[in-house]
Symmetry: C2
């Protein structure tokens, strides 16, 4: 096995055959390399939910995961937050000439492990190799198909509803920024990349239409997700500063680098908006899952403002959380 990716690995000929056959098939299984042009995966019951996401994160390995784990969990979560059961993923790779074969191999193993853990199958794939300097090591696109049956996580939001998060905020974005800035003293910092489908499917079955909205808080963080929800609507969303679960290590790095954890990417966190009467039960149900152990209520929907997200501070002041304008965290996923 060569120890670097070569341009010839991408040309559809024998060297590519060897890369594909020996490595990708061995690790991801033969479906993943599209020996035929496409995968046949159905029929299945329910509405089809279809999503795509491209991962360009740097560095490609980081505390708590790598680009491969992120690419699988991210797309699994994009389906799960729609109330769909994620089933099939594609894997579109762009490899930069010169990428270490051992790094590539680690990423493939990581994708396989994440797919197995989330119980999804990588059924089709494509690999392109570009010259040194035309990409940055590896970019991964994962598209996904899931099936939505009885719940959609999209119901009317109204004043009085409750906002829940399944754990600490900003871990992914802030730990990546710490690594990039050489803040290696920041022990305890780690990406939160995790698949949320099992927890969300269980909640959907148990609470159905009481769950008004679910979204994973990736790029732009929970402030951006909530702004998308509230924008142009006749309600506001209040977060209570005192309730926000933020690791001390995350706060520390934010202080040093001038970042705000509310705008930092998460890769294993969802925001749920649920009816008030079920909120406590939902939090309790979520805590039974490893991805939800630290679930808690962090705010509510009210009518203090129109279409705004705001924070009630420790001293009971109000601070509006605007839509992000500047480029805080590029290539964070």
């Amino acid at each position: 096995m060569d120890d670097k990716i070569l341009m010839a690995h991408g040309n559809g000929g024998e060297l590519m055959g060897s890369l594909i056959n020996k490595l990708i098939i061995e690790i991801l299984g033969k479906d993943s390399v599209q020996l035929d042009d496409s995968a046949i995966v159905g029929p299945e019951e329910g509405k089809i939910v279809f999503t795509t996401d491209t991962y360009t994160i740097t560095p490609i390995f980081f505390e708590g995961g790598d680009i491969g784990k992120l690419a699988v969990n991210g797309t699994v979560n994009d389906l799960a937050v729609m109330g769909a059961e994620p089933k099939y993923l594609s894997c579109g790779l762009i490899l930069e000439e010169g990428l270490d074969m051992s790094e590539f191999e680690k990423i493939l193993y990581s994708m396989k492990k994440a797919a197995d853990y989330a119980e999804v199958r990588i059924v089709t794939g494509d690999t392109k190799v570009v010259e040194r300097g035309s990409a940055d090591k590896i970019f991964i696109n994962t598209s996904g198909i899931g099936f939505q049956n009885n719940y959609s996580f999209r119901n009317e939001i109204k004043s009085g509803d409750v906002v829940i998060v399944n754990g600490t905020i900003g871990d992914h974005g802030i730990s990546i920024m710490a690594e990039r800035n050489g803040l290696s003293f920041s022990k305890g910092l780690s990406s939160d990349s995790a698949p949320l489908n099992k927890m969300l499917m269980s909640l959907g079955r148990e609470y159905g239409d009481h769950i008004k909205f679910v979204r994973d808080a990736t790029r732009g963080g929970i402030a951006s997700v909530l702004n998308e929800v509230a924008g142009d609507r006749d309600f506001s969303i209040k977060l209570i500063e005192d309730y926000l679960p933020i690791k001390n290590e995350v706060r520390g790095v934010c202080d040093i680098l001038g970042l705000d954890p509310l705008y930092a990417a998460n890769e294993g966190k969802v925001i749920l908006i649920v009816s008030k009467e079920t909120a406590d039960d939902i939090v309790e149900s979520m805590r039974k899952f490893p991805e939800g152990e630290l679930s808690k209520v962090i705010g509510c929907v009210d009518s203090n403002y129109f279409g705004k997200v705001y924070i009630e501070t420790y001293v009971k002041g109000h601070r509006i959380l605007p839509l992000l304008q500047e480029d805080q965290l590029p290539r964070i996923c």
Copy 2:
């Protein structure tokens, strides 16, 4: 509107919102930007066929098309050659900081036009921006979903079957290589990028199981596709040199650059292997479509060799066409 892509266009905040809202929605329609995390597209009848392909071609604009047209048609064709009706595409974009906004806009229009022509919908998308030097202008992943009903284009191939192609060979790969090498005198050269779904769906309905195999001859050309078919099988595939439709301009560039059109990428050509008794009718049916006007028989399946593809030359000699080994045409799609 800014005239260059900036890093901030990729951060999930307001500038990104403006790029997305003003440009992508305007051109591709609002489904394509994944305002929600995923698209809901079903349920539909039939087996689900799922495919993915990433496009890294350089140059991004070329005679006969651009990377956007290629990305739509290529994925449409990957579904169609499986006997599926292509319905839904995703669009995953990686933009390099500094890309001209006007070029980006042209590519989006081109995707929209190709999708409309092929009668598929771009229903979900994702956009990432990376720093200058971390990509090469634009890479596009399109994944696709289609539905297979009554024919699969995968039936037992046997000696006596006939090999058909729907037009001239090597146009895409050779015209790109001519452009890259500044052979601008090569008028008449143009990529053959085209959607083949309508022609193939019509053939499937009319001829069903008489069609044993269909594959678009992209990277690696028709020689590579046929090697995949014949490899390790108990038959050989004979191409008759005299029958091969190759433009004079393509031959000319091949002579100058030392390329072989049989190994050059096509983006609107399929190889069909069909039963002998229907071959003439199938060719006639194909010629009714603009994408099949120049369809013809180019060879047959026989038992002269085991698992080989060979060419019967003008002087009736045999020349084996091996699996491609070297990197003939990088970043051709």
